[in-house]
Point group: C2
Chain length 210, copies 2
């Protein structure tokens, strides 16, 4: 840290930096200047230097940034090697796809439980884990203490589930439901994946091109 306030916009750029640096690293590139990096990422050199300086002096005048070092530092800032236990709730098409598709491990997440309210799904194995009935959610959380919950359930079911989980070990939600967690529960950490909002924004842009 450098004692500065980190803006939301900056935080949202960090994963992008991390992604591009990972790519450069795997290509064997050793160093990059803020100018070159700006071109690659579609941002400005000023912004990149400002962002990075919120967290430390990672560069070197006259040289630029060491890619491997910077990649590691941003990974640390993002907490990607801190273990985080995750449960997933709702095993519809989407929940199943999320369970199978996401590379949780590469970001320090560990999927430890999968739940659904449908009795008929119980026992089914997804990504090596048995689907459990939501009735066992309380007990499971008290034993295993997951800190993150992925919500792939309908809007109506979300309110109760969020309340239940915030009363247990869950501190953050990755929210695929249309329920607005923040509005009802402002202290909790929420990352929304609102597919509908995204598609509507796309629709707006299509309709208002120039």
């Amino acid at each position: 840290m450098n004692g500065k306030v980190i803006s939301n916009s900056c935080i949202r750029r960090l994963p992008r930096y991390y992604r591009f640096l990972g790519e450069l690293k795997s290509k064997g590139v050793l160093r990059i200047s803020s100018g070159e990096f700006a071109k690659k990422t579609g941002l400005t050199a000023s912004q990149i230097r400002q962002d990075l300086n919120c967290f430390g002096d990672f560069g070197q005048q006259g040289y630029g940034y060491n890619i491997e070092l910077l990649h590691g530092e941003i990974g640390k800032i993002l907490g990607l090697s801190t273990p985080k236990k995750v449960i997933l709730i709702g095993v519809g098409n989407l929940g199943k796809a999320v369970a199978q598709h996401i590379n949780f491990e590469s970001m320090g997440y560990q999927l430890v439980g999968i739940f659904d309210k449908k009795e008929s799904l119980a026992g089914q194995i997804i990504r090596g884990l048995p689907v459990r009935n939501v009735s066992g959610l309380d007990e499971f959380c008290r034993e295993v203490n997951p800190t993150v919950a992925i919500l792939c359930i309908p809007k109506d079911a979300a309110a109760i589930t969020v309340n239940q989980l915030t009363g247990l070990s869950v501190k953050a939600f990755w929210n695929f439901s249309h329920y607005d967690i923040k509005v009802h529960n402002p202290d909790v950490i929420v990352e929304n994946m609102h597919f509908g909002d995204s598609l509507m924004t796309l629709s707006y842009r299509l309709n208002n091109q120039d």
Copy 2:
């Protein structure tokens, strides 16, 4: 329109307005003031009035906003009743889930084609549509003229596919791949659904709570 420049932040709030208004409408609520609406959505009354005034005078002094009317107007602004043909490319776990899970019709989208490069998937029926081989993409686009493409393919395959499609009828991408379309092709409309970036942001917040 009201002749004003629409900020990106404003555009991203429109779907949220639309969602809440739809809910209120279905509950039979007739009117709402910017103050009440602010409380419901977690925004400020000023912001809501500013946003709406970019597009027109939808309210009435001393009364507030007519919910049904406003819902309709925002729907028009977002272009949700303008028909938009969509193709989906990549039928892995995620592509399949997106095809089956999204309510395209409610936003004016019409899923017209599903593609994958894997020969063995060809002919499989998903949401009433047969999976086609990507080799037929050119011909299909020239005949059907889809304007939106959903990318559920790996990063490496994305570059070529984006180039191919932008040379045809496709004007906008709903991007689930990790490929940065905008950086390479700035004139195209892109909505990113970067799962990884979202999970990394969540990780950051978990690690930097106060």
